[in-house]
């Protein structure tokens, strides 16, 4: 399959099998196969890689803000092997469910320490 990384992948919404929003394609990672031919290995998502790509003071501020929520720095991005991509349209659809992927550490922290503690956090209001 031919795909233009910068046009069709970068900055696009990642969506799981059930339509839940996972994050954006903040960066991509290439690998080399046995013959030394480069291929698209995985999609990366997370404020660490996004901040690097944004660059400058704004990018650094983004990374520093996100890193306040994690203990192991630098922050590891969510790494999604390209083989898990089912199709690409206005979003990048994955074959897996969000539960099978690691949750973002910032989301995890806020869920545990702030939002999850407010009564009614488990009910969707529709």
């Amino acid at each position: 399959m031919r795909i233009q990384v910068s046009q069709e992948l970068l900055d696009r919404q990642l969506v799981d099998r059930d339509g839940r929003l996972i994050g954006k394609v903040d960066d991509v990672e290439f690998g080399f196969d046995a013959d030394g031919v480069p291929y698209l290995r995985s999609l990366l998502s997370g404020p660490g890689v996004l901040g690097q790509r944004v660059g400058g003071r704004l990018g650094r501020m983004l990374v520093l803000t996100a890193e306040r929520f994690v203990t192991d720095r630098p922050m590891a991005p969510l790494r999604i092997p390209y083989a898990l991509v089912m199709r690409v349209d206005s979003a990048v659809w994955l074959r897996v469910s969000a539960d099978e992927l690691p949750t973002s550490p910032v989301e995890e922290w806020l869920r545990r320490n702030l939002i999850g503690r407010i009564p009614g956090a488990d009910r969707a209001s529709g």
């Binding site: 900055d11 919404q13 903040d26 996004l50 790509r53 939002i115 009614g120 488990d122 209001s125 529709g126």
Partner: protein, 408 residues
């Protein structure tokens, strides 16, 4: 019958999304100082918001993605982040102004100082966002906001000189206050009708309610009926101010003066209806601006957002929502005057307008997203002309504000 009901509800949401504290202040000031001389600005604003909301709704229905989601794909990560920071700030300042409007409406109804109402308004807005069902909340506040029609009714009750009103609308002049002040008010009024949060909110609502191509006609219908009704209500605010406040030489520096014409016409009942209408439109707009601020952030970063999932599953979205409401309350607790805050808010919104509207026009022409549902030639021409107006308003806003000392 069901279809009629659904259409009515869509229109209610559009009306609710249109009138807010910015319209109350800008329309009241325009009418009190310049009579009907800004009626054309309102008309232009309504055409602009209809055209661009239609595009945003179509994008949402065809691609299933909201405006800010696509802004990042089009502008790139860095430019879109700059855009996000600017849009977020403008939206949170708008939220603060709306909360101030809620507090002023409550003061109008109860006589208790508005500052005491600010924390109450903040908590109430957050609670509604946390708990209430989305369509219900839009409709309740849209319906209550229709009480603004009391201003149009008052026009018939008062000894209105309709011919003079009409003349003022078709032959604008500066009323001896200087053209600088005239254009300053024009920019503020224009910004109040095309507030960017309306588009964020409209397109995110479309995604949340899972619009498809089949819903396009309904969405278009609610926009094309609802926003003009909102525009008509704003026009009646200008007209009552022109009839009552202008001859008396009163200026608008609080919501009391905006309500004055209906109090004159209907006494205590008029005051109660006006206070209810002010409360409904500002509270509804506070909900929408709060959500819009959180939508923009979530859609830039790709976080789970919306009210269909539990807050626990959208913890970052709900954190931004909570922080935004808190920031709005804190801004008001600095005792900045809510009407002054609204004036400044309108000027910075005017500056930020192109950040929202330019990307919408670009995406609405992108066949990779929309296929053959891209803009037609006529809509593109209209969109381009309106974009020139938006750019002009954005460029002149700050020089006008400084040059006229905020329209003095």
């Amino acid at each position: 019958m069901r279809k009629l009901l659904a259409a009515t509800l869509g229109i209610l949401s559009a009306v609710g999304g249109f009138v807010d504290i910015g319209d109350l202040v800008a329309a009241g000031q325009a009418g009190a100082r310049f009579g009907m001389a800004h009626a054309w600005v309102l008309l232009l604003g309504v055409v602009a918001i209809c055209a661009y909301a239609e595009m945003a709704g179509r994008i949402a229905a065809v691609t299933g993605r909201a405006v800010f989601d696509l802004i990042r794909e089009r502008l790139g990560a860095r430019m879109a982040l700059v855009n996000l920071v600017a849009s977020y700030l403008v939206t949170v300042i708008t939220l603060a102004a709306e909360l101030g409007g809620v507090a002023l409406a409550l003061r109008l109804a109860t006589g208790v100082p508005y500052l005491l109402w600010v924390p109450v308004a903040g908590i109430a807005v957050w609670l509604v966002l946390w708990r209430m069902r989305f369509p219900v909340m839009e409709r309740v506040f849209g319906l209550a906001g229709l009480a603004l029609v009391v201003f149009a009714v008052a026009l018939f009750w008062l000894p209105t000189d309709w011919a003079a009103l009409g003349r003022g609308a078709v032959a604008p002049d500066d009323s001896g206050q200087g053209w600088g002040a005239y254009w300053f008010v024009a920019v503020a009024l224009f910004a109040s009708t095309v507030s960017p949060y309306e588009v964020f909110f409209f397109s995110s609502g479309g995604v949340e309610e899972r619009w498809s191509v089949n819903d396009l006609a309904d969405a278009r219908f609610s926009v094309l009926v609802g926003f003009p009704i909102g525009g008509f209500l704003a026009l009646s605010l200008i007209a009552t101010a022109a009839v009552v406040l202008r001859p008396a030489g009163l200026s608008v520096d609080s919501l009391d003066q905006v309500a004055h014409p209906v109090v004159l016409a209907f006494g205590g009942v008029g005051l109660a209806v006006a206070a209810l209408a002010f409360f409904a439109v500002t509270f509804g707009a506070a909900l929408e601006t709060g959500l819009s601020a959180a939508y923009a952030a979530a859609q830039y970063f790709g976080w789970q957002w919306g009210k269909r999932v539990s807050p626990r599953e959208a913890a970052r979205f709900h954190t931004v929502l909570l922080v935004s409401v808190l920031l709005g309350v804190l801004l008001l607790l600095t005792t900045v005057d809510p009407v002054t805050l609204t004036e400044y808010m309108l000027i910075i919104s005017a500056v930020a307008l192109p950040l929202t509207y330019l990307p919408i026009l670009v995406v609405a022409n992108d066949r990779t997203y929309l296929g053959d549902r891209v803009n037609g030639r006529a809509l593109n021409l209209l969109g381009a002309v309106l974009l020139v107006v938006i750019l002009a308003a954005s460029i002149v806003a700050v020089p006008l504000a400084i040059g006229t000392r905020m329209g003095q």
